[in-house]
Every structure is written in structure tokens, then in C-alpha cells.
Symmetry: C2
Subunit: 326 residues, 2 copies
């Protein structure tokens, strides 16, 4: 029910998902009448057997604060979906709703995996050679060196699921590659990562290195990760905007300009947030996927694909094993 478009982006994405994956079954949490009319509008009655509405009238708005959600929104679509995860009725849940509420409700309803100090939000981002998993994206503001080490362990499992690669290089996000750079926590985390026999630690990287593909997992606190991801999104949007302005300016190569814009759009889809939609909330007992709040139907579909990958590999269980063996 969340995000800018609510079920208007979710329902078409679900229909597409069910068509593409004949073995999939979906549960939709929200007000029955609204969801049913959106489903009916898609005119795919043959899919209805695999698309169940779980009716609930309570929803969490975008400006609801996490504490309020914890206390008063236990019957909301988000909370009920998390309860379905907790009971094992579903293997993963996807939402584009209020992030703060999601993190708070996930911790409370699913609980932390044993040994996990702080669950973290992470996501695969495009690079020149493939992808890079960045975490934490904003779930945790204050992170100790030990927290960052745990993020590294969890991020490795997530990126293994997304790429199928076993050997992954891990780096810490910092403002320079030299060992004296950064905060005390970052420098201490570097020590811990260097000494960890199970982690291939590659040192400090800077913001631009997230996108070059020199490493597979980049670890940082939620403040830095959030800023890195959102700044990158901002620039991608800006480039689209600039191209559009030039298009309208009546440039004499307008014809070629049109073609160029088509190509630019194509290139852009390779890096834009929509394609890399779906952040995983790692460290809780269940697969929880956060879709971008501004997600289109296309972007929500991508988040569902991410959720499917996590469900099939049971990422939460793998994180649990990794933490137990650490």
C-alpha cells in the first residue's frame, strides 16, 4: 500500500510476475475492494488462483514515525505481510512503504538473527563490470567497527545470492585510500576485516569506486551509504533532465537528437535505480525487500525479482549460517 503509487504500481507488477513465473504464488495485503478492482482491470482471470488478497484496512502512511508504527499499526498491510513471513506462509515480502516503519516492524515481528547486532539495508548497484553490493543504506546511523564487520559478512551472502559468485572482494567506504583516513570506527573496522580469514578484504575505497567494479561488496554506516546511493540517483535523474532540455531547445540536429535520446534512455536503464530496485533488509529472520518509494510498476517488478532470488536461496537462512560460523 506504500510508495508514491501504492497498489497502482504493485498490481501490474504482480500480474507480470505471475505470467513470467508459472510456479509463483503471491499474497497481496491491503484493502480488498481497492486491490480487487485493480486486479480486475488487468483482465487476467486465469491468474487469480495464484494471487490471493489478504484483506486489511489499516495502512502505514509515508510520514508515520517508526515508534507510532510499532505501537499502533500492528494490523497494517505491512505488519500482516511481515507476520506471514514470520509464520513461513510466504518466503519473502516486498514493500515500497515507509522505510523507518518497515525496519522497526521487521525487527519486532521477525526478530534479529542470532548474533546480529544491527540488521542493515543493502542493495546491488551497477558497475562497469557487473554489480556491487552496498550496505548499510540508512538503517543504522551509529555503527561500531564490529557492526561494520557484521555488515561485511551479511553483504557477502547477499551478493553471493545475486551474482552466483563465491569469491568476493570486500571494501570499506572512506574518503581516501590511505590507512590514516576516516573515522576511528572505519579504521578499527579495517583492522577487524584484515584479520578475518573468511573475508577477502581489499582496503578502503572512495565513493566513485562503488561504480567501477573493483570490489563486490562495499561496507559503510547508514549515513554514508544513504548519501552515496541517493547522490548517484540524483545525478542519473539530472542527466536525463539535461538531455530533455536540449531536446526541446530546437537543436538543428533534432532528428538525430531524438535517436540519441532513445539510445540514452537505453543506456540509462542499465544504471537507473529502477533496474537495480529492491534493497534487502539483512539480519532479520526472514527475507524482507524494500522497493524504492518512487517505484514505477517496472521498478516494483525488479524488486520482486530480487525478492524471488532471496527466497529461492533463502538469503536469511544463509545469513544465519554465516553469522553462526563467524
Amino acid at each position: 500500500m506504500g510508495g508514491d503509487l501504492g497498489p497502482r504500481s504493485v498490481v501490474p507488477a504482480c500480474i507480470r510476475f505471475l505470467k513470467k513465473f508459472p510456479e509463483a504464488e503471491l499474497k497481496l495485503f491491503g484493502p480488498r475492494t481497492q486491490l480487487q478492482s485493480l486486479i480486475d482491470a488487468e483482465r487476467q482471470p486465469q491468474l487469480s488462483g495464484r494471487l490471493e488478497i489478504v484483506p486489511c484496512e489499516q495502512v502505514i502512511t509515508q510520514n508515520c514515525n517508526p515508534l507510532h508504527a510499532l505501537r499502533h499499526k500492528r494490523e497494517s498491510s505491512m505488519a500482516l505481510a511481515l507476520q506471514a513471513v514470520a509464520k513461513g506462509e510466504v518466503q519473502a515480502m516486498v514493500t515500497s512503504g515507509n522505510t523507518g516503519a518497515l525496519l522497526a516492524l521487521s525487527r519486532s515481528i521477525l526478530g534479529n538473527i542470532e548474533g546480529v547486532r544491527k540488521p542493515a539495508l543493502g542493495k546491488s548497484l551497477p558497475t562497469e563490470r557487473g554489480s556491487c553490493f552496498l550496505l548499510d543504506l540508512g538503517a543504522n546511523i551509529d555503527c561500531s567497527a564490529e557492526d561494520l564487520l557484521q555488515f561485511a559478512r551479511m553483504g557477502i551472502e547477499a551478493q553471493r545470492v545475486h551474482t552466483g559468485k563465491r569469491d568476493l572482494k570486500v571494501a570499506l567506504l572512506n574518503i581516501g585510500a590511505e590507512p590514516h583516513k576516516g573515522t576511528e570506527e572505519i579504521r578499527q573496522a579495517a583492522e577487524l576485516l584484515e584479520w578475518d580469514a573468511k573475508i577477502d578484504y581489499a582496503g578502503f575505497v572512495e565513493g566513485h569506486d562503488i561504480f567501477t567494479g573493483v570490489v563486490d561488496v562495499v561496507v559503510c554506516d547508514g549515513l554514508m551509504g544513504n548519501v552515496a546511493m541517493k547522490s548517484a540517483e540524483g545525478v542519473i535523474r539530472l542527466m536525463g533532465q539535461k538531455a530533455f532540455t536540449i531536446e526541446k531547445s530546437g537543436y538543428f540536429k533534432r532528428f538525430f537528437g531524438q535517436l540519441a535520446i532513445k539510445l540514452l534512455r537505453k543506456w540509462r536503464t542499465q544504471v537507473e535505480p529502477a533496474r537495480y530496485n529492491g534493497a534487502s533488509f539483512l539480519g532479520v529472520k526472514g527475507n524482507v525487500i524494500k522497493s524504492h518509494g518512487g517505484a514505477s510498476s517496472e521498478a516494483f517488478y525488479r524488486a520482486m525479482i530480487t525478492a524471488k532470488e532471496c527466497a529461492e536461496a533463502d538469503l536469511a537462512a544463509r545469513v544465519g549460517q554465516a553469522m553462526a560460523q563467524a
Copy 2:
């Protein structure tokens, strides 16, 4: 002498600058023979009267640490250029050398402007509507609320110089717009900014808002600012890279692809770091401009334009006045 290309990018930029601005005079600090041969190669003898070499053999390498620079590099090209600023022999200095050394030497040779707790590095970035001044970009890791308030005051003066606009909106970079978001320092800084009658404070913004143009100045600590700027640079490079890959892939519209790439390059120049090169080190007694370490001759030229703007308006003096009146 610094940066990836050293004087090979600086000398051609100087020649172009002297041609463009007939009233300008330049001093070049570095080994005489090397600089002279680069100048000779440009074959512009009529400009030589306005381009003076100040010979010095000592240079600061990219991995020299700030403390070492302070103690042992007092005769380096960077230190001598700063001394020329301190003596009033030049109105601004530009370098693409070691940032840490520059900050340390600037503080030591020029000294802080009265009342300034921590000088900060800031820079204009492109937005959908114009530009936005972001600071601190990495000079300071730990910043108190009071430091952030000072950054705001200094950033406003810098952005006034760059845009000519008097009324500017200021925001704090955070991971969400809601008042409970972020660290204690950020929330306290919000209080201070709200109560400051001389600052038009617009609240918290997120990383993507730096590039939309909703505000004119964005304030944050050096960790967040550095990550925001470098992530943005990384994505711009990635988009260029992706376009190049598709070009090589033998797409059947290869002909149009070529034209499209030309247009893409044109768009890219509007947002790429080269065009917005030249960060100002604000809060020291003199105009000090840091050019990107990977700066091409074109990019270094842009940093010189930034320096010219700062010199003409005497940004350092304006920051001094703003701090005295605060």
C-alpha cells in the same frame, strides 16, 4: 606540480587563460626547466611577459601525508604558492596536488579567518536549474552543530560569488526530511540554522536533492560531502562507460550510435566534474582553489575560472566579513 598529469595539464590551461583574459597575470611554481620546456612547446612567446616561473625543486607527492608536508615540505611548489597568497603577491592559488597537504599547509601558512573554527572545502555542483554549493567535501571528519552553522555561512558567501544571487536557500544533508532523522549534530545544527536570522534555512535534504536545485547551499560533514560528490562522479563515469560498451557491441544503428555518443558527450559536459572543477578552501586567509587530481587541461582551466571569480570578489575577505557580522 600535483595531480595525475602535473604541469602537462596546468601549462596549456595557463596559456588558454592568458589568451582569454588579457588583464590576467600568472605565476607558475615548480622546477624551472620542466615548466619552461612545456611553455616553449605552446609557442606563444607574446604571452611570456604575463607568465612568470617561480622556480622550486621540492614537490609534494600524492601519498605524502599532511604532517610530513607540514614539517618537511616548506620549500615545495605548493608551500611557496601559498606564501605568495599570504604576502598578497597573488590574489588566488590553484593546485591539483595532494588535498591533505594543501589543507594542512593552507591552515599553517595562511591561518584561519578570525572566528572560523574549521575551514571547509566546498564546490558548486550542477543542478536542474543552475548550481548548488556543497560543503564540506572532506576537510573535516568530525563536525559539531556549530561547525555546520559556520559552513553554512561560508558556503553562502561562496555561492553568492559564483552565482551573483544574493538570496540563497540553505539545507542540511541528511538521510530523510523528517526532523527526527540523522545524528545529534545534524539535528542540533538544524536548530541553530532555524534561529539564524541571516540564513534562509530550508530544512533537511537527501543526496538526490543536491542535484535538483531545490536549494542553493547544502551543508554536511566532510565524510558525507566527500561520499556524495565522489558517488556522483562515479555514476557519471559509469554512464559514459556503458555508452562506450554499447557502441563497440556492433549495434545495427551504429551510425546513429556514433551521433548519439557525440550528443551524450555534450550533455555529459554539462554535469561532469571537469566543468564544475575547482573546490574552494573556505575559512583560511586567502583564496585557495583545489582542482580535481585527475583534472585534464580543460578541467584545470575551469578551476582557474573559479579562482578568478574568487579573486575578483575576494571571497576570503567576504567570508571574513560574514564571520565578523555573525
